[in-house]
């Protein structure tokens, strides 16, 4: 009964979708806003990766909100899972030699690759969030390979907070220098070099470290629970 009912609802919805979407041709030429970004992006922000210039300059405020949401998730996770009574952990079967050795060998390289991704956010596909996720995956591998070695939660928390504060401070510096919050006040540099695009690499370093610490913290909390 429930299934039939939900199917009927979905069919009605699909009809609405069809009416709405039939007027949005697929693969149409770009919108006015999008074309503006492509044409003026390099000139105005100095980043050759237009997506990055949108994420951190044109719509940088969204990204501040996004960073806040991740922060919120790690805070909420910690709050909900904080007051657990039975901290007894089950017996851990030690992982095989292959996993242990490989994870010890690869861990530094994963960290460096994450750093590479977030440093080059304005030049190549990637950026702070992706780089941070890679760093966190390194920590996940470490937890799988060497479960007895734990990193202290408090250091994660400190990096998280400092990353967020650094973002806001860069924004406020832009406010004092140019009169707009998150204004790109540093020199734009020569396009396609590492030291270009003003505040973008700085913000991405802050975001990369922050996201890495946050995700690793989330993984750490969840592992502690299960």
């Amino acid at each position: 009964m429930r299934k039939i009912f939900s199917l009927i609802i979905l069919i009605i919805l699909a009809l609405g979708v069809y009416i709405c979407i039939s007027e949005i041709p697929f693969g149409k030429p770009g919108t006015a806003v999008g074309n503006y970004y492509i044409e003026k992006g390099i000139e105005e922000t100095g980043a050759v990766n237009i997506v990055t210039s949108i994420v951190l300059n044109y719509r940088g405020f969204d990204t501040l909100g996004e960073v806040t949401i991740l922060f919120l998730a790690s805070l909420g996770l910690g709050a909900i899972l904080a007051t657990v009574q039975n901290k007894t952990r089950g017996v851990i079967t030690p992982p095989s030699l292959i996993l242990t050795t490989a994870c010890r060998f690869l861990f530094p390289f994963i960290l460096m690759f994450g750093a590479y991704i977030f440093l080059h956010g304005h030049l190549t596909p990637g950026g702070g969030f992706q780089g941070g996720a890679i760093i966190a995956s390194g920590f996940l591998l470490r937890y799988l390979g060497c479960p007895q070695k734990r990193i202290r939660q408090s250091s994660f928390v400190a990096i998280e907070s400092l990353g967020g504060i650094a973002f806001i401070i860069i924004g406020l510096l832009g406010f004092t220098a140019g009169g707009f919050f998150l204004f790109n006040f540093l020199p734009k540099g020569v396009a396609n070099t590492l030291l270009s695009a003003g505040i973008i690499p700085l913000i991405y370093i802050a975001i990369g470290l922050k996201v890495g610490a946050e995700m690793a913290g989330i993984i750490d909390t969840l592992i502690e629970e299960s």
């Binding site: 991740l70 998730a73 996770l77 899972l81 396609n192």
Partner: protein, 119 residues
């Protein structure tokens, strides 16, 4: 054929959204509900990306000289999708933590059996 050619990505996106909605409407296990939410999320992300698609388009990155700005896809939806993926991750993490605690309290994840409060 022309219809498929024009709408195949939309069909995919809304197909995912509807599958997720169907799961949300009919299932009662919390983990399945969370999976449903994730599927809806994926569908929405795909839909946003579709909005900026250009046939034979290239990525909006001027990594070398001589790239034609005319053929670049709309970069705005890509920026939006980055945000929405992160939001999805945050919601997923919250949902899983709640599921862990719920299981510790009730010993089950079946929402039909968890009825201390009125639904």
């Amino acid at each position: 054929m022309d219809f498929l050619n024009n709408y195949i990505f939309y069909i995919g996106a809304f197909g995912l959204i509807f599958i997720g909605l169907y799961i949300l409407l009919t299932r009662k296990n919390l983990i399945k509900l969370i999976i449903g939410l994730s599927i809806v999320d994926t569908g929405v992300n795909l839909l946003i990306i579709c909005m900026g698609y250009l046939k034979n388009g290239t990525a909006p990155i001027f990594s070398r000289k001589g790239l034609n700005p005319e053929t670049m896809v709309d970069p705005t939806p890509q920026a939006l999708v980055l945000t929405s993926i992160v939001i999805g991750v945050a919601v997923l993490a919250m949902a899983l933590s709640l599921a862990i605690r719920l299981y510790q309290h009730y010993g089950t994840l079946d929402m039909r059996k968890i009825k201390e409060q009125k639904w």
